[in-house]
């Protein structure tokens, strides 16, 4: 296996990975930000992943930074540099350290022996002499080792340091850099590419997407890992005339966005698994009353409180079946960081067109970590009239719920009263217990998504369309799958890859595209194979199904998927 890996990395010009391990409170996130920032200044591509516990201080944590001069969207298969601030942060590295890998560790710490190059350095002593902090000294050492240059690092430090810490941070970096020079280690000498890149998190993309879609109302309740979306929206909304409210619970959040959307504002909430569980009754209400809303769910490890800070794709079942009764709903799972922006915008368009809840199913790894990006492309949106059509002049109730032949309801016009009801209702929204009307209205509500079933959004087929083997993946698995497939193709094994983004309604094309395929691998990050269960009804009966799953809280590494595909799937 090691041999295979090596051959891949020879192809890539530069692909260097760093892990910084220690305790929460030791400034590992800050160190990550500085290194990522310096890489972005040099125009390099970065993928980061952070493991951290719920305790704010003193829990073991690590951060992985993969740097490359080509675009990357998966965690690394190897660690070139492991910097250790506390030994408890060193875990699960056995398969990642190569013989050439460097372990940088404070002289006072001890870790088990690994078959690689260990450098004991006076990190703590140096930092106290420089009146700085060990994490900053590590940044200095690593930036020397990677060849990021003192200049880039100090530019980043000036931008993100707290004012009163800037001097001490600069001293720390300098001292760390000196340690690197004295160590006699050879630099990785990362190149400088043309234009510098921007550093973004998925939460930035979602918030910007909401802004760009003309979302004017947000209500939410803090919950890891979705809180940063709320914070960014709260920061930016006042500048674009939006209103964001932190409310008492998720029941309130979902109800409030329903009220605001009824009154005319494009509205959204963001939550995570436990919050989504609380919101399901409201989602059913929005579906019944045909009020457009966008619900963002950043998945975390469940069930129940689970592992709140870790990554899993375990909400597929809940998101696709979110409430009692026959509920029209749309579920989207973007698969790239750019799609976190474009699909957020799209979610608002779809919610308005089909007048139903749209759930954006997101991954913790993309929302919370740092990535590099050149630019974003927005498609122009019609937005929605900011002020409601509620408040017109005529006394009739508008027949909002009549719909055309395809069941798609017409938006209320000015000058009518508007009634929205959780109770089964006639075309005007007025309550009824008439079984016949219920049959008509239910049929109409479900029929309206037929259009999306036929022409799904975000449909993509990657790889060789004639292949007799296929992979269906979800969300952020895409990057690791693509990297694994690149290697598989080298052995002349043809595979096509569908990163499935419209989870509900399931695209009819799924069956059509895969009808000649003999073997299908479904790749996802949960224990029970929720994606497999969801899509299996739409997969050709003749194909052999294989499931590759991972659920230890960390994202798939490409090699893990490669192994799954070579050794023919897991459970």
């Amino acid at each position: 296996m090691r041999e295979c890996l090596r051959s891949v990395y020879e192809v890539v010009l530069k692909d260097v990975s760093v892990r910084i391990a220690g305790l929460t409170g030791q400034g590992i996130e800050f160190a990550t930000e500085v290194i990522v920032g310096a890489c972005a200044l040099k125009g390099l591509n970065v993928y980061t992943f952070r493991w951290f516990p719920t305790i704010v201080r003193g829990g073991s944590t690590y951060s992985e930074i993969r740097i490359s001069d080509v675009e990357i969207s998966a965690p690394p298969d190897k660690i070139d540099v492991l910097a250790v601030l506390d030994e408890s942060g060193v875990k699960d590295v056995d398969n990642l350290l190569l013989r050439d890998s460097i372990i940088l560790i404070d002289e006072s710490l001890s870790i088990p022996q690994y078959n690689c190059r260990v450098f004991r350095q006076p990190l703590k002593k140096t930092s106290s002499e420089a009146k700085s902090r060990p994490n900053i000294v590590v940044v200095g050492f690593i930036s020397g080792l990677l060849g990021l240059g003192y200049n880039s690092v100090s530019i980043v430090l000036e931008k993100i340091s707290k004012k009163d810490l800037l001097e001490s941070n600069l001293r720390g970096v300098e001292a760390g850099y000196k340690l690197f020079i004295e160590s006699g280690l050879e630099s990785f000498d990362l190149p400088s590419l043309s234009a510098s890149k921007s550093i973004v998190q998925g939460s930035d993309m979602v918030a910007l997407g909401a802004l760009s879609a003309g979302c004017k109302f947000f209500a939410g309740y803090p919950i890891t890992p979705s809180t940063s979306i709320m914070e960014k929206i709260m920061k930016w909304f006042p500048e674009v005339g939006g209103l964001a409210v932190q409310v008492e619970d998720e029941l309130s959040a979902i109800s409030m966005i329903i009220g605001a959307s009824y009154a005319g504002a494009r509205s959204m909430t963001a939550t995570s698994g436990p919050g989504l569980s609380l919101m399901v009754e409201g989602i059913g209400f929005a579906a019944m009353a045909e009020i457009p809303i966008v619900v963002v769910d950043v998945q975390r490890v469940g069930p129940s409180t689970g592992m709140p800070t870790a990554y899993e794709q375990g909400d597929i079942d809940l998101a696709t079946h979110p409430s009692h009764g026959d509920v029209p709903r749309i579920v989207l799972a973007p698969s790239t960081i750019e799609e976190y922006y474009s699909m957020t915008m799209l979610a608002f368009e779809l919610a308005d067109r089909y007048r139903c809840p749209v759930i954006l199913l997101l991954d913790q790894v993309y929302v919370m970590n740092y990535f590099t990006l050149d630019k974003l492309e927005a498609s122009r949106t019609s937005g929605r009239k900011n002020v409601s059509s509620v408040g017109g002049g005529l006394l009739q109730v508008f027949p909002s719920y009549s719909g055309s032949a395809d069941g798609i309801p017409s938006p209320p016009l000015d000058g009518f009263l508007v009634v929205a009801s959780s109770v089964e209702h006639d075309v005007k929204g007025l309550g009824t217990q008439d079984g016949k009307i219920h049959v008509d209205m239910s049929t109409k509500r479900l029929r309206k998504l037929g259009e999306l079933e036929e022409s799904p959004v975000g449909w993509e087929v990657l790889g060789d369309a004639e292949a007799c083997e296929a992979v269906v993946s979800i969300g952020s698995c895409r990057g690791a799958v693509e990297e694994a497939l690149e290697k598989i193709r080298k052995s002349s094994r043809m595979m096509l890859h569908i990163p499935l983004k419209q989870l509900w309604p399931l695209p009819r094309m799924l069956e059509e595209t895969l009808k000649n395929v003999e073997k299908i691998y479904v790749i996802e990050q949960n224990a029970s194979g929720q994606l497999l269960n969801l899509v299996s009804s739409k997969l050709p009966k003749t194909a052999e199904l294989r499931s590759i799953r991972k659920f230890d809280g960390c994202p798939f590494r490409p090699v893990e998927i490669y192994r799954g595909l070579v050794y023919d799937g897991g459970g």
Partner: protein
């Protein structure tokens, strides 16, 4: 034609909800409001059927979520008069949490709670305002819980307009509604009502005997402590305070955060791209940019 009449109201004979229907409709008339200027947000329970009978904009929501839903409506379109209607179960049981927090926000909503001390729509179970030891369908040997005190709860939570109405006095009830609708802030009117079908322990006659009109005691008061004392002193004698008990002007949520509809509804891509460039160093391009 009666512009506020959507359908003939149907409740059990003798139900308190008829009085509320009359009083609310007449309050709208006397305030010269038009149906399109009003949104009635209803929860679940017999009283909430009012949305089917009064002709205005309406949201018939889910159980317990009247206040957050109404808050969303008001924040998105502050020009609307937003009226919430709940029963005691909707407001003080399943939705009680929202009452406390809506009070803190002082959103301009008129909240009407029809308090008949029983879950009537589900046919006769005890509610948070059912007196202790009451013999109920679900507690044949007596309800072992103390009732909630809606007026005190509202006062200490910071509701800026607290009133109690009585279904046996529709004229005064209408006046409370008018005053509440005109109040700049969150108003709560708890209405002493009856359920002649499922709560035979409470009758209009018995309630009438116990009423004390607080206007005779110097209300509405502007000091919470005085208001709490007034309520307590009347209740200690086994009586019910009726009238506007407390009223105070404080900044509303809309006033504090700025109204959304004053701002440009068009999507300002330039500004959004500016935000992105400033905070992330990231340019946003419009695909179909001319």
């Amino acid at each position: 034609m009666d512009v506020f009449e959507r359908a003939k109201p149907r409740w059990c004979p003798g139900c308190g909800d008829f009085s509320i229907y009359e009083a609310l409709k007449n309050a709208f008339y006397e305030l010269n409001l038009k149906p399109e200027e009003i949104v009635i947000v209803c929860g679940i329970g017999c009283a909430t059927f009012i949305w089917s009978y009064i002709n205005t904009n309406a949201v018939k929501g889910i159980h317990g979520r009247v206040l957050p839903t109404a808050t969303g409506v008001k924040l998105a379109n502050p020009r609307l008069k937003v009226i919430g209607v709940s029963g005691d179960g909707d407001a003080y049981s399943i939705g009680c949490n929202h009452l406390v927090h809506t009070a803190r926000r002082n959103v301009e909503i008129t909240y009407i709670v029809v308090d008949n001390g029983v879950f009537g729509n589900t046919r006769g179970q005890s509610s948070p305002t059912t007196p202790i030891y009451s013999v109920m369908k679900n507690y044949p040997s007596g309800w072992p819980e103390k009732p909630i005190n809606p007026l005190l709860l509202a006062l200490v939570s910071g509701v800026t307009f607290v009133a109690q109405g009585f279904i046996g006095d529709v004229k005064r009830l209408k006046e409370y509604f008018k005053e509440a609708i005109n109040h700049r802030g969150f108003s709560l009117i708890n209405i002493l009502s009856v359920c002649p079908t499922f709560n035979l322990m409470r009758t209009v006659r018995e309630l009438r005997e116990k009423i004390v009109y607080v206007e005779e005691e110097g209300a509405p008061l502007e000091d919470v402590r005085d208001a709490v004392n007034l309520v307590l002193s009347i209740q200690r004698e086994g009586k019910h305070p009726v009238g506007v008990i407390y009223k105070k002007l404080e900044p509303t949520y809309n006033e504090l955060v700025g109204a959304m509809d004053k701002l440009d509804p068009a999507i300002n891509y330039k500004r959004i791209s500016g935000i992105s460039e400033r905070d992330l160093g990231l340019k946003i391009f419009l695909k179909d940019q001319e």
